[in-house]
Symmetry: C2
Subunit: 151 residues, 2 copies
Amino acid sequence: MPYEEILDRFKAQLKIMGLKVTRERVIILEEVMKRKDHFDADQFAADLSVGGVKVSRATVYRTLDILHDMKIVHKTTLGHKHQHYENMVDRAHHDHLVCLKCDKVVEFLEPRIEELQEKVCLDHGFVIKDHSLQLFGICGDCTDDDAEANN
Amino acid sequence: MPYEEILDRFKAQLKIMGLKVTRERVIILEEVMKRKDHFDADQFAADLSVGGVKVSRATVYRTLDILHDMKIVHKTTLGHKHQHYENMVDRAHHDHLVCLKCDKVVEFLEPRIEELQEKVCLDHGFVIKDHSLQLFGICGDCTDDDAEANN
DNA sequence: CTTTGTGCAAAGCGTTTGCAGAGTG
DNA sequence: CACTCTGCAAACGCTTTGCACAAAG
């Protein structure tokens, strides 16, 4: 989806929600669209200011929340004390594999796990709304390191 | 496993770790053993003091960490900003289903999900060490409420 | 008697919020 | 103009920590 289209969609949704289109909100949307990685709000704000753009941390948090409500951004906990955000435009749901040594994050989708989750919920009389799955391990590169270290 | 046995194991492990057996640590172990639910450190400390036992919050956090290292206690994030602890003595690994309305927590174990997780890791060259899976939904009781509310 | 533990209160850390002035529609 | 936003700094909620005194081995 081209940036122009997202921007229009963003503006339209803001209007629907009774919110205003501000310089800061557009800047943040633009920066989010550049990101393909998993980022945290604080670092995001820092990067903006390094780029010479001044937007306060508070506004970053507030705007990422709006983008989350609009499903433009997804929030995950990847085993750290802070939240990670990721741009979800043109992207399907997925879960994460996190390396405990180098913090590398790999995305994956395993439909059979999703199905089984549905089944578990059904069996317990729950209507599933969401789930959170992270696998923690040691990635290939870091396992190699281990091998070397043991020589 | 009888309490006496756990206590002995606790004392032995403390010794191995070069730590001392203190009144507070024993009190906390005892209280943990009484718990079958998912609790947070703060509430745990509060309950102790209601029970007339004085142990500081700091010591509760410090001791729960030790118990976690000893695998006597397990730490999970159930979608709140604080950690939940649970007594793992005589209990097998399991994941959690959380009701978004009433916060009810149901434990489940789906071996096929565990297997698929292994497979996903393998496929990505990871050695799995741990995982975190929470399903969020609306439980049977709360779905009923919805139905009533819509009448 | 040496070493570790405890309580307290303060600090940390990510995140949220109240407020006064700035900007949008 | 009326109303929402922003930036700031202070507040927050959970957790950790420095320190002086207490207790364990």
